[in-house]
Subunit: 272 residues, 2 copies
């Protein structure tokens, strides 16, 4: 999906919501546990309930890999079911030497036909560049993550005074433009989000950490939005496991709708 | 596998060789392409040909994930076929927020029953700690990797003057001891390897980059060995794709034997 198509979806749906499909098999309601593929059945119900409220879905690879080959089947069926009406992010946090990153690119862009993959920057340029140059495909590079451990390395100042995450972002902006590169910036760091928006005015940011991890949508939108919206805000557990009974999909829809309603006002402001 | 068991294997086999199973489907010889599972058939032949020469196998997850669910089946069969006579490393370079890293630990330690998983440090302590505390299981944390991109971030000096990779290693040594934590240190950086051996005398290092990437076994052993050996040296393409015809397994054995013979002298020196 191109940047233009993504921005168009955001305007049409008045939403920059990404629904994280971190599907926990132990939290799938009992009535779906008897299905031949409970993870896919659960995801299908979540997708049906939220399609018109979000622009992106983000399957979290760990939850599928923990189920082995069956998990990959559930993941592939899920991505296929979503189709091309949404931006699909493989949340994989990959990154390895060139010949290996090329295989991961094949896994996520060709085998699974996702639009984007999250990539960890530690191994540098030749670990990231194999994911670039696929038409309509994206790298979403970790910048400043939402977890407490972001203080251990990402926030450490380099010799020049800048924190590591800022050096990562400045460096990666020389590798790729805003048509194929986004950054992960956690909702738990709104001040840094505003500073990175000033540094990278045109790049999209994928923002996790709203909801279960404590970040505020209001603070994120205020700090991070640009005139093309420029944000994808993710919620995972807060939506997909909002309920645990037979009505889980309705509960998920309510949680997604509450976020979408807040987002609509911000989208109108961005494009006015 | 415990540290004591690993050291015992090294002494018995006079080897600290790790064979990297970066199995490229396009380089599987024609006579195996007709098998029901060519990747497993190839790996089985490589394992049969090298079992007595190495102490570890390291499947590279990217090569299996690029084949989807079928790739995971080939991987699971491979790990099962290796059995408990070798140290099995899932080369996955994972790392994510706590609830996600816990799923990856389940994928590699429980679903696949590997002994170790490679982990990327960028997200900090709470992304690494979910992989710790499994009896006989190991985290192998990226320190200084063998690729050119290691200069982009890992070698950058922090405000105190130390390069990032050294700060990563010093910090991670506070998280876990040498019975459950190793570091990845590329063979292309022998000077840094010697410095890190002085800093972390008891930790094992997994050293990629000998062979195809240009590192020297001699230089690695001289710089990195301790009195328990303390090294696992990996070769992937240099062994498994040493030949491309019907005799590929013999060619692989010859390449592995050449490394093992060099290693034997170093093992004798370490334990004398």
């Amino acid at each position: 999906m191109t940047r233009r198509q993504l921005v168009q979806l955001i305007r049409e749906r008045q939403s920059f919501l990404c629904v994280g499909l971190d599907t926990d098999p132990d939290r799938i309601p009992p009535h779906l546990q008897q299905e031949e593929d409970p993870v896919f059945a659960f995801n299908k119900a979540i997708i049906d309930a939220t399609r018109d409220l979000c622009v992106a879905y983000k399957p979290n690879l760990a939850f599928y890999e923990a189920l082995g080959a069956q998990g990959w089947r559930s993941l592939a069926r899920t991505v296929e079911y979503i189709g091309d009406t949404h931006f699909v992010i493989a949340d994989a946090k990959r990154g390895d030497i060139g010949n290996t990153s090329r295989r991961y690119a094949a896994a996520f862009f060709e085998q699974l036909a996702c639009d984007a993959v999250t990539v960890a920057p530690y191994m540098g340029r030749d670990s990231v560049s194999p994911f670039l140059g696929f038409e309509g495909k994206w790298v979403i590079l970790l910048g400043l993550t939402s977890n407490p451990g972001s203080a251990d390395f990402q926030l450490q100042p380099l010799a020049g005074g800048r924190p590591l995450y800022e050096h990562v972002i400045r460096t990666a902006m020389r590798w790729a433009g805003p048509d194929e590169l986004m950054f992960v910036l956690g909702a738990t760091h709104p001040d840094e989000l505003a500073a990175i928006r000033a540094l990278a005015p045109d790049y999209f940011f994928l923002v996790p950490g709203v909801g279960a991890q404590g970040g505020s949508l209001e603070a994120v939108a205020r700090a991070g939005m640009n005139d093309q919206c420029g944000l994808l805000v993710n919620s995972s557990r807060g939506i997909i496991h909002a309920g645990s009974g037979a009505d889980f999909a309705e509960k998920a829809r309510s949680a997604a709708a509450a976020l979408q309603q807040q987002m609509a006002a911000w989208v109108q402001r961005a494009f006015r």
